[in-house]
Symmetry: C2
Subunit: 422 residues, 2 copies
């Protein structure tokens, strides 16, 4: 993590003092600002008491910072997806209240008392756990991103008339608390399974879709969590209350909500969700499958079509998010000229493994037109590809796993538009 108190920032500030004069007002100059010179209502009357909001919601002025779906995307919102308002967020944590959702048969209501989790198949002791049972196993806490495989999927067809909430908002980043799947599998016993190298688990949810997915045993025993809290509190209904699977770095469809059964098997099930869906059809018609890991990706969240530059010329903070299913983000570069030249951004967080990293580029803008891009690198040395590079590898039939570099065309008036460059 770079130290923003070091030279680079001081240079920025020296350069910005004049430019900011139009914004930050020298108190001694110009027309008196009544917001400064007059006693305001809020400074001369009482506000709300602490009993006003036993459980709080955002202030009314932030009413547009909400999840949004695209009605035409699927036949019914029951089987659809909505998008995190990432254009309006900062930092890394996504509040549960605005974290993207995807359901295959809707968000179900399931009481803790009615919750059961079965572990069966090639185990020594098939077990059924109640919610209270799960709370008795050692717990872990990790911040992880959860990204839908279809995030940015509409962009395969070319730049859409959409902002970053719609192009990249099928993602959230929360602190999950739960029990490692390894712990529960060991409780059931894996002697019966024999050689674990070729074993799988099949996981399914309690909703009508069941959304069954096969996970190789190596991953199941690595970092998968059976989670019951997100950002400290109970999972919301739409995030799988009371218990969901967390499959760090892997596509969101595998993070089965309302998880009810985990079967140890000697092969994958080849379910609907891993054959006709969540596979990648290449140019020659062959489908790649088992494409679980979300490769390194980044996007600028501001400025962007939903977050234009509204102030005048001068200092501007360019910011965005980067993440990798393979581990930590090590570097993010920003280009203003569509990928010809690059500047290295400042990482605003330590960059946890398989978690969102916030990046910033503290710069100046004086009305130039920009082709703004971000490019992420992760600890494996992988570099986020261009759209052309990705299409060369994958063709244009795909829906899933579009992690290419995104371009915003920033215009002289500060508005931004989703475009393609090649």
């Amino acid at each position: 993590m770079s130290d923003p108190t070091k030279t680079s920032r001081r240079a920025f500030l020296r350069g910005s003092a004049a430019a900011l004069a139009g914004g930050a007002t020298a108190a001694s100059a110009g027309t008196p600002d009544p917001l400064i010179t007059e006693v305001q209502d809020w400074a001369s009357s009482l506000g709300d008491g602490v009993d006003a909001t036993p459980y709080g919601l955002p202030i009314e002025f932030e009413g547009d910072v909400v999840r949004r779906n695209v009605p035409w995307l699927t036949a019914d919102t029951i089987s659809s997806i909505n998008f995190t308002p990432i254009h309006a967020l900062d930092g890394t944590i996504t509040p549960q209240g605005c974290a993207f959702e995807r359901h295959h048969s809707g968000a179900i209501e399931l009481r803790k008392e009615d919750y059961r989790l079965m572990i069966n198949g090639l185990v020594d002791r098939p077990l059924v756990f109640t919610y209270a049972d799960l709370e008795r196993f050692p717990r872990e806490n990790h911040v992880y991103f959860c990204e839908c495989a279809a995030n940015t999927g509409m962009e395969w067809a070319g730049a859409q008339l959409n902002g970053v909430q719609f192009t990249h908002g099928m993602i959230h980043n929360m602190e999950y608390s739960g029990v490692s799947l390894r712990t529960l599998l060991e409780e059931a016993g894996l002697e019966t399974a024999g050689d674990l190298a070729d074993k799988w688990v099949f996981v399914e949810g309690a909703d009508a879709s069941s959304n069954g997915r096969s996970i190789p045993m190596e991953k199941a025993l690595d970092d998968v969590l059976v989670a019951f809290k997100a950002n400290g509190e109970a999972l919301r209904k739409e995030h799988g209350y009371p218990v969901r699977l967390v499959v760090p770095g892997w596509e969101g469809n595998m993070w089965v909500k309302w998880i009810r059964r985990i079967e140890v098997m000697d092969g994958p099930v080849e379910s609907r969700e891993e054959t006709s869906k969540y596979t990648d059809v290449l140019a020659n018609g062959v489908a790649r499958k088992w494409t679980w890991v979300m490769d390194a990706k980044s996007v600028i969240t501001s400025p962007s079509p939903q977050s234009p530059i509204k102030h005048g010329h001068g200092p501007l903070v360019i910011t965005g998010l980067a993440w990798s299913g393979h581990g930590k983000i090590t570097r993010v570069d920003v280009s203003k000229d569509g990928g010809i030249t690059w500047e290295t951004a400042r990482l605003g967080t330590q960059g946890d493994t398989k978690a969102l990293t916030r990046f910033y580029l503290d710069t100046d803008w004086n009305g130039e037109e920009w082709l703004l891009q971000a490019r992420a690198m992760d600890e494996t040395g992988y570099v986020q590809p261009t759209k052309d590079q990705l299409r060369e590898m994958r063709g244009e039939n795909s829906i899933y796993h579009n992690n290419c570099i995104q371009t915003w065309y920033v215009k002289a008036d500060g508005e931004a538009e989703n475009v393609e460059v090649s």
Copy 2:
């Protein structure tokens, strides 16, 4: 951070398999469980669609996980405090919706457009910033705890008939995004101030109380943030929308909400909030003042009076929170016998500086009566004191800065009660 996949956990699990038989049910044994053998309503009908909750709230079954105030604590809830439901949370992040509040004249409603921040006094260029101005400076993100100086203050008088939400819930832990105060002070220029070693800033809010506090320049230039987001999204109204001060590790009263003015001065103001309040009256009647730092502290959140042991004997997860205003938590010990013997707990997070650390002790309980305590240590080597040690130093007149070891009396039926031991 200890690795829970190591030996200790395996030993725990071997010991627990039998005990869990009463909980986790061998699928082949006993009366069939209709929740397993019959198709449930939620598995055969559609749930809610993604348009049901543009901004989500907790599921109805979690309706008691809310902030609570104590009506008799102050004359009016406008000038009172409420408490985070820490007995029901896990992990480290506190959602804004249930993060404790304290107001001195109520939570005010202040639009971003109406927001102004003045920096004046001994600066080269007095400045007034709009909200949009602040967004143009380099930003930082940090997770910090915010604890009211009066947290646990009711315990000076002896153990209250209260659960941990009331004894220790005047605290939250959020990821704050904002601009460092140092950046803004440097923008205004500190040449005029001369020697900074004896300079202070006086900070005040836009609410009627103004809640003015003096902060020595050394701290102001260290890690204080002028923050506009918490856990990624805009501050809630009750947390200072649109802008609050974040004073890491220091008492919550200094984290001025709706911050409107920062004056560079050649001494402290000695305001109401730092003389008649937020000072510590010792046994001899002398008041300690400038007691800003929140010393290392910990508490067990479960089991606790609001989170009794409800399952049978056998495996039990003891968990709680630890924090220090001086830096990182390095170790937490747990005692079951009122402080005679101690076991070292497992830290569930890396322990960020001046942030909550979650700890766990994976153990067994077979109906024994316990006097349950936690004891935190921080990176300075400081060890959380007992109640007796703290009273010896400070007497019993105090309200603030009670960071002593807390005791829960766990009874044979699993209920827990707030008690004192000496």
